[in-house]
């Protein structure tokens, strides 16, 4: 069971965002998609979610996405965009319930299992007490947690998240990374675009490093996020250590 990207490339007009990329992403893993700004991470993630035109083929369990019905694909792949919000002042619970839309037939109301999935997703993201709050009155970090809960509520086998911890305080960053890791341990394929290499190294089971539109490193976090790779692709010198048996990779100094 895996998501397979076969020679996937993305072009915006005449500019190549992602060059031909082939990746086999098995379920039950938390893949950190990292790389400097403009590396093509978000474009690759959008292509995998079927949101931007691309060449090449993408298949889940050997079934091409193009052969899936609209809602079947929506039930298979959940996607959280980089900057998101709600355009109307609905409550957090109602926002999360929108994640259940792919499961509902035309005109069908939320069933007990949908309500349970909404509640579960809110609890996962430590947002249970926000359920009845209006989303336009939440803080940035609270809103980010509610939006992630919306993606979790889809309960899809593939979860693609674009910078899910960007606006969170350290405690909630750790919390969300742990939630994503637990999703992976329960069998979900989670692909997360991350800028925090420290958290990526600590929580991801695999790192895909992108630069200039292609994959330049792929494997175990410690192996891919080596000082040499960080120096070459990010232009930074890291502080590398181990703490309680886990890798610590901290960008420390800019290399001129």
């Amino acid at each position: 069971m895996s998501l397979r990207l076969d020679k996937v490339a993305v072009r915006y007009g005449r500019r190549d965002a992602v060059l031909e990329t082939t990746l086999e992403l098995p379920c039950a893993s938390l893949v950190g998609l990292v790389g400097p700004n403009g590396a093509g991470k978000s474009s690759l993630l959008k292509a995998a979610a079927g949101l931007v035109p691309h060449s090449g083929a993408i298949a889940w369990r050997s079934k091409p996405l193009t052969r899936m019905a609209r809602l079947e694909r929506a039930r298979t792949i959940a996607y959280l965009p980089q900057s998101a919000g709600a355009h109307w002042p609905i409550t957090a619970a109602e926002l999360v319930a929108l994640g259940r839309m792919p499961h509902l037939a035309f005109g069908e109301r939320l069933r007990a299992e949908d309500a349970a999935a909404v509640e579960w997703a809110l609890e996962r993201c430590a947002a249970g007490r926000l359920a009845e709050r209006r989303v336009d009155r939440l803080s940035g970090g609270e809103r980010a947690r509610v939006l992630l809960a919306r993606a979790l509520a889809v309960d899809a086998p593939v979860l693609l998240v674009d910078e899910p911890i960007q606006s969170l305080d350290p405690r909630h960053q750790l919390n969300i990374m742990r939630v994503l890791r637990e999703c992976a341990e329960r069998g979900t394929l989670v692909v997360a675009v991350l800028h925090d290499v420290a958290l990526a190294a600590r929580y991801c089971t695999r790192i895909v490093l992108m630069a200039e539109g292609r994959v330049v490193g792929d494997g175990a976090p410690e192996h891919v996020l080596s000082p040499a790779a960080l120096a070459r692709w990010y232009g930074v010198e890291p502080y590398v250590a181990r703490h309680r048996g886990e890798p610590v990779v901290l960008p420390w100094r800019q290399i001129d």
Binding site: R70, R73, H87, W88, I90
Partner: protein, 332 residues
């Protein structure tokens, strides 16, 4: 207000709106107007049947259909554009219909057959939609579509002014102006049967877009990832609006503010959910239009007020008050 309370409020919207709509329809059936002023009932027993069936019933049905269409399409467009200032005329369907009808007047065809005028309106609305589609393209983003709509509105307004400028006689110019003010007077069952076959598929298209509108609450990318591609929702709403609003304008002329104000009034009641807003807006739009048309018949004797004038007179202060309230809320 919590989620459960909001849902309950959505329920009370129905409990109030459906009786309001039916009550307004009943008033519209029993209240009439003659040269001496308003009348109650149907007059002599000998003419009661024809008065009810041939004058009051078509007029009531048309008010209901047109008002419902304006409320429904206003709610759908505001949901699509995620902007509470959108109104059914935004994308050119009503100005296209108006231009079509004006051209019928201009070429003196209106006298030939009472059906030519609404048919011209429908043709104008369909032409406006075709132009919009041609200008914007199938996969166009909303900004392009709104800009194309503005361009079509400007073009239709310019051509309408041109027709007025070169009107064959002052009488023809006056006729065009009066028609554009919007009215339900002197309409017959023929107009109902002309509008309904276009309105019905229009409503169905908007209904088919309902879930897509909910998904769009979270933005275009999330909506697409939930299985509701924005382009699909977009053309369902635009097609549905053009058909139903085009048909409405074709038979009554331009009736403003209903499609703008009604979704505004009801949005807090249904918890701001675009999908839950649709059906209540139909009922409320119908009720508002029916009551405005009844108010016209209650006026003292004299030239009959045009419906579009009355809805604007009711709508404008209401809208002003909403803006002031909005300013106070966002100002803290």
């Amino acid at each position: 207000m919590n989620g459960a309370a909001l849902r309950a409020a959505g329920g009370t919207a129905w409990v109030l709106l459906v009786p309001l709509m039916l009550g307004a329809a009943l008033l519209s059936l029993v209240i009439g107007r003659t040269s001496t002023g308003p009348t109650l009932g149907f007059g002599d027993a000998a003419i009661a049947g024809p008065v009810l069936m041939e004058i009051r019933l078509p007029r009531t049905l048309l008010a209901l259909l047109v008002g419902g269409t304006l409320g429904l399409s206003g709610a759908a467009l505001q949901g699509l554009l995620r902007n509470p200032l959108a109104e059914p005329g935004l994308l050119g369907a009503s100005s296209g219909a108006a231009l079509g009808a004006v051209l019928v007047f201009y070429f003196g065809l209106a006298a030939a057959d009472s059906l030519v005028l609404p048919l011209g309106g429908v043709a104008g609305s369909v032409a406006a939609l075709g132009l919009l589609y041609g200008l914007a393209g199938r996969r166009a983003d909303l900004v392009t579509i709104v800009l194309a709509g503005i361009a079509i509105n400007a073009l239709a307004a310019a051509l309408t002014s041109l027709a007025l400028n070169f009107a064959p006689s002052p009488y023809a110019a006056l006729e065009i102006l009066f028609w554009m003010l919007g009215s339900l007077a002197d309409r017959s069952a023929v107009h109902v049967w002309l509008a309904l076959p276009l309105m019905l598929p229009g409503w169905l298209l908007i209904g088919a877009a309902a879930r897509g509108l909910d998904a769009l609450t979270l933005g275009e990318e999330t909506a697409a990832s939930l299985g509701f591609p924005p382009a699909r929702t977009q053309w369902l709403v635009i097609g549905g609006t053009a058909l139903s609003v085009g048909a409405a304008v074709a038979v009554t002329g331009v009736i403003g503010f209903v499609g703008l104000v009604v979704p505004h009034m009801l949005r807090p009641w249904v918890g701001h959910h675009p999908r839950r807003l649709l059906a209540p807006c139909f009922a409320a739009g119908a009720a508002l239009t029916l009551l405005a048309d009844v108010a016209i018949r209650l006026m003292p004797p004299g030239p009959e007020l045009k419906l579009g004038v009355v809805t604007a007179l009711i709508g404008a202060p209401f809208f002003l008050q909403l803006i002031l309230k909005h300013g106070r809320e966002s100002g803290g």
